[in-house]
């Protein structure tokens, strides 16, 4: 594989960039693989990469209905963090943070990890206390967290509303300095390129139409491009999980919902951190291009349509202006929607299933993008070893029966309330 570096860039400039190799091939499906990963999103591609890299399993295909990276890895607000209260989420995500920190070098693809810090604003003492609970949990789990008072917040983000004319004044905030953002598309492409170079087949425009299961064991998958045999199959299709589960006669603790996000027109640098509003649900960062990247609530009803409605965005942007009044003068440039797997406790599932050889990775709710490397790594482990790693043991499917739920928000099964 061609190595990317400033030297190769200069070298290729002199041949008019005509000698760059293909980043990943576009093979036709073979008849059989050791592992088939369904879903060419970030998690699927990362899983394939770590299967090859960590477990030396390379007879792997990633099959994707559309084009790789077309799902939520390309439709998010690029936030990377591990600021969770529950140990399962915190330790899993912090493991992921390490992978993020080394990803550009590991993949030889600049995914632009930018540890600019995330600040969760608090608007009451009660909220400061709730954030302390989370922050202390993070610290005891070895994750960086700092509690900021109002003045400290003001120093970092003076453009937030510190005026008198404010409905919910800022009391302070919880900051994870090592959190940040990355270039979302690059993550999918970087994993694809490396996985491809290690022998993984990345097969696009290949839709799953059914599964072959005999005596409780998976045999293969039926696709729009023919049947593919596989010893093991990993399902990595957040947003379509319920649709594929139906083909397997499975019903899951997951609902499918739409989350919208939007960007403003680009402006000169004004905001360095990722900031979330505490008296509602709004988050914001500024991309390298200068666009303010903004998101918030779900549209609030089950949806598979990658299109949302304006009242939700109006509501989200109302909270945006409440936090950052300067947003008022900017213009909303682009909006998009992503289809979320909303699980019944707000945390994901990475587990085996009752079908031998079938593995499940779903239920990422809002938090799928940042989980990409850790999800791929642990899912690869779960598939390769046929048992979950300690890091994803808590993300079991049967936790809903045993009561070992991981509910960060305490909202229970009403997944559409945020």
């Amino acid at each position: 594989m061609q190595k990317y570096s400033v030297f190769s860039l200069i070298k290729n400039a002199f041949s008019n960039h005509e000698k760059w190799e293909i980043a990943w091939k576009d093979p036709a499906p073979k008849s059989e693989y050791d592992v088939v990963i369904i879903g060419g999103g970030g998690h699927g591609l990362a899983t394939a990469y770590y299967l090859a890299k960590e477990h030396n399993i390379t007879k792997v295909a990633v099959i994707e209905k559309g084009w790789i990276g077309g799902g939520n890895v390309g439709r998010n607000t690029t936030i990377i963090r591990s600021n969770y209260m529950h140990d399962e989420n915190g330790l899993f995500s912090e493991f992921g943070m390490d992978l993020w920190r080394n990803m550009s070098q590991d993949l030889n693809f600049n995914i632009m990890f930018s540890p600019r810090g995330i600040i969760n604003l608090a608007h009451s003492d009660a909220q400061m206390n709730a954030y302390s609970r989370r922050g202390n949990s993070m610290r005891l789990n070895g994750i960086d967290a700092v509690l900021l008072n109002r003045d400290e917040v003001k120093k970092l983000i003076p453009m937030a509303d510190f005026s008198e004319n404010v409905r919910f004044p800022i009391f302070g905030g919880l900051m994870q300095p090592s959190a940040g953002t990355a270039r979302h598309d690059a993550v999918a492409w970087g994993y694809a390129r490396q996985a491809d170079s290690m022998g993984v087949d990345i097969i696009q425009h290949c839709e799953v139409t059914g599964f072959d299961v005999v005596n409780g064991k998976i045999q293969g998958v039926q696709t729009s491009r023919g049947n593919i045999k596989a010893k093991k199959i990993g399902l990595c299709v957040a947003g379509s999980t319920n649709v594929l589960a139906e083909k397997l006669n499975m019903t899951l603790p997951v609902e499918t919902h739409l989350l919208q996000a939007c960007v403003s027109e680009p402006i000169k640098p004004i905001l360095d951190q990722v900031v979330t509003f505490g008296a509602g649900h709004f988050y914001c960062s500024q991309s390298d291009k200068g666009e303010m990247v903004m998101g918030g609530d779900l549209d609030g009803y089950n949806s598979y349509a990658q299109r949302g409605n304006l009242p939700t965005l109006q509501h989200v942007l109302t909270e945006g202006i409440a936090m950052f009044p300067f947003l008022s003068k900017l213009k909303m440039l682009r909006t998009w929607g992503g289809i979320m797997d909303m699980s019944m406790d707000g945390s994901p599932i990475i587990d085996k299933t009752h079908i031998d050889g079938l593995y499940l990775n779903c239920g990422w709710c809002y938090g799928g993008f940042k989980a990409t490397p850790a999800s791929g790594w642990t899912f690869a482990h779960t598939i390769a070893q046929d048992r979950p790693h300690d890091l994803n043991a808590g993300y079991s499917l049967n936790r809903f029966s045993t009561g070992h739920l991981i509910d960060e928000k305490g909202l229970g099964t009403k997944t559409w309330i945020s």
Partner: protein
Amino acid sequence: MSQNFRLEKGGLINRNKKISFKFNGKKYFGFEGDTIASALIANGVHLVGRSFKYHRPRGFFGAGVDEPYAILQMNRNNEVDPNVRATEQELFEGLEAKSVNCWPNVDFDIGAINNFLNKFFPAGFYYKTFMWPKSFWYKIYEPIIRKAAGFGAASINHDKERYEHKYEYCDLLITGSGPSGLASAYAAAQNGAKVILAEDKPRFGGSLLTSEATIGNQSGKEWVDTIISKLKSMKNVIVKNRSQVFGYYDHNMLVMSERVSDHLPETEKYTPKQRLWYIRAKEVVISSGSIERPLVFGNNDAPGVMLSSAAKEYLKVYGVLVGKKPIIFTNNDSGYETAIEFKKNGIDPVVLDTRISPDSEIINEAKNLNITIKNSYVVVAAKGYKKVKSADIAKISDDKKKLSRIENIECDCICVSGFWTPSIHLASQSGNKTKFNEQIDSFIPNKSKQKETTLGSANGIFTLGETLKTSFEKGNELSKQLTNNDNKISIPAVVEKKSSEHDKFWCVPLPKGKNYKRFLDFQNDVAVSDIELALREGYRSIEHVKRYTTLGMATDQGKTSNLNGLQLVSELENKVVPQVGHTTFRPPYTPVSIGAIVGREVGKHSKPTRKSPMHYWHEKNNAVFVDAGVWLRPRYYKQGSENLFEASKREAKNVRQNVGICDVTTLGKIDIKGPDSAEFLNRVYTNAWLKLPIGKARYGVMLREDGIVMDDGTTTRISENHYHMTTTTAQAANVLSHLEYYLQLVWPELNVNVVSSTEQWAGAAIAGPKSRSVMQKLFPSLDVSNDGLPFMGYIEGNLFGIKARIYRISFSGELAYEVNVESDNGNFMWEKIMEVGKEFNIQPYGTEALSTLRIEMGHVAGSELDGRTIPYDNSLEGLISKKKDFIGKRSLSKKAYVAEDRQKIVGVVPLDKKTSIPEGSYIVKDAKAKLPNPKLGHVSASCWSVEHDNPFSLAIIKDGKNMIGQKLFALSPLKNKSIPVEIVSSHYVDPKGERVRS
């Protein structure tokens, strides 16, 4: 500088009103009716900005919403407006604008060094480099890139402008006032339909303003004026200019932004800057027209290269020449219209037509005017850096592959026409799966998805006659269904020149040995070579191409670049365009101000504020308020120089020693009536409710179906079939919906009605050992003794002439009463209580003292009932009935919930009896254990116990019931605290509950 490029006469501007404005600090003049763009061009100014990546000089490319270049920073009425499009912003007296994305100035821009190095910056170059050393991306490279990117600079000052929202319903919403919009609006209006006609530009008429065709005996412009004045006079029609319908959402909801005041020097009083319209239309006519496509050739981004239709618009609408030595480079007849217009104004254009031997009425007219026409000719490359100075032109072979006879000719502008792209954005947003029309090599709408009909050039119809005919007919037909009127209109005769077919050629090959940049996306600097590179590297899906190269992702959202990009990809991939497919259009069609989207809900009004009827008493008495959801509650009443801690301690102490009064109006209240009410409560709450006597209250806990505690509160049986439920402030709305859910859907057989009565009652809690004395004075005729009104008893009374409900319930753990009166009487009640309580040293207490009192009593509240705990965790298992079923009961048998070492609430006291334990601390066995340090549980609430005069906290910890007496640590790494503690019972005061019963 005078307006050298302004024609002597002509145009639709008001030459009687001269307007002065400043651009990059220099003063210029224009006329009323100009845009910044037309006024600058009139003054010969073309260099207005720099491109995003290479910082190449940028001029004007269009004359409207499709403009990719001319983005300026504007000052209006001392406020900054970043990213204003010069082609849309109307001129007003005193306007100040400047270029963005350049430093130190637009003329000499350091960033342009990128252009000389552009060889090293192909599409996606940043993915391949900036990786070593590791920390450099975030610390060095990224800040440099960020600084170079972005357009305007936002001000962090608050936006002083006002934005409004309006909701409208109509029969027909018509989006665009060109020929198709006017005809369909007029026809529908004649049928009595309620019509909204929206025009983005200040002037109505669209293409008719620049067309030479005649309608009836009128010019296009005259016909527009006639129709518009007729429409404006009709009551059933709303006609709006400066109004862009930017989003087509579900169920025929469209959203329009009206720029009410942007064209004025300042916003008038009581007028918004912009108004956002939510419009629910029964039928939608999409008459948004089409946008001219660029032709692609070397350095086609140089200032002075622009759309031929824009050049024509500047001439005909603004009376401005975009150049005096124009080249018209076209693959269709539209270019000739521009050429003719130049010629009529005394300018000699050269027409380069890519076609071999085109022939039509328009071309003949051009020939008759002696316009120089070169067939099979192309522009190979524009020459000139900050402004076009000349062009390399060449003959192109019939197969369009070879160039010959390359020569350089002088020019000062190049007007390009690559045919027309229908504006299908709104149709696509509505869900219409558009189809590719090979004849015009563009996508046009397919079968309607919602109630939308696309007409005119937006639908690929480019002749005026046919457009008017179909639009009159459609307007009549759509409105006829809705109004049952059928007023046919005679369609006026149209005289227009016939066009010949366009040439599908659009991208000029590079001459041998030349490496010109040929741009597709002008703002984002995406060139043909970038697309080629993306495909070479395997980014083959159009979405990959778009994301890898950023094609079409600039602020013009690819209005002029998307289709050319698609054509290029399909050519290189040997596919046809529909196979490549286009990316789906999403709202907004054009960027919309966030202020307008948000409207009036800003500042203090961003969320509602709820206040109790006693709010102003609290204010007068130095209450410091706290937000409890959207309610404001007194947190403490400040006396002298007291701080929160001192005041709340004083207030709590006074409750324990004397008597206090607390405003509890915010508690949720639900009135429950019906013969099955007891049975219903019995199912909703975890404890037994069937035998609650009339005049008695009971504490209850309700669960979600997953076994988690949802809420708690007391419910009182007022009469046989009438109950009064209280909920926590936070859960009031959820509990009501929850009750309605079970009554309406799950157990409709129960004859019960519920209704919120939160707003109907004002409530005061009177708590403390002397509360009975206060009650006796308040209600001298009532027996409020322990026998007359025992704990959890209820009676009704007369409080100085007003009806009152009296509950003997307690949250503080003291002897206490709660008095409710109708809200209007709340303040009267409060003042009376203060008056009679004075001799007992009554003092108001706020939420902070309330917390202290409940914490040291071990009463759970929101911080324990946090949506993650079951009754056992909160020591509420005594309230779980074993005999009956209730909501959520079945979940309580889950393995984790019945585990021996299940978490449970305990009390925590610091060993030194001095150090307060911060809320949110964790209880651990070993304070110095290696991370991750195993946690036993967290501290949910802390207070200074006024009873014991030392800190006390509640914590929910693993195996809590067996931890009492253990010496552990409370850790708060955030506050750098490690506190040795002892675990005690959560009931720190009066564990037997004797006081409440005294």
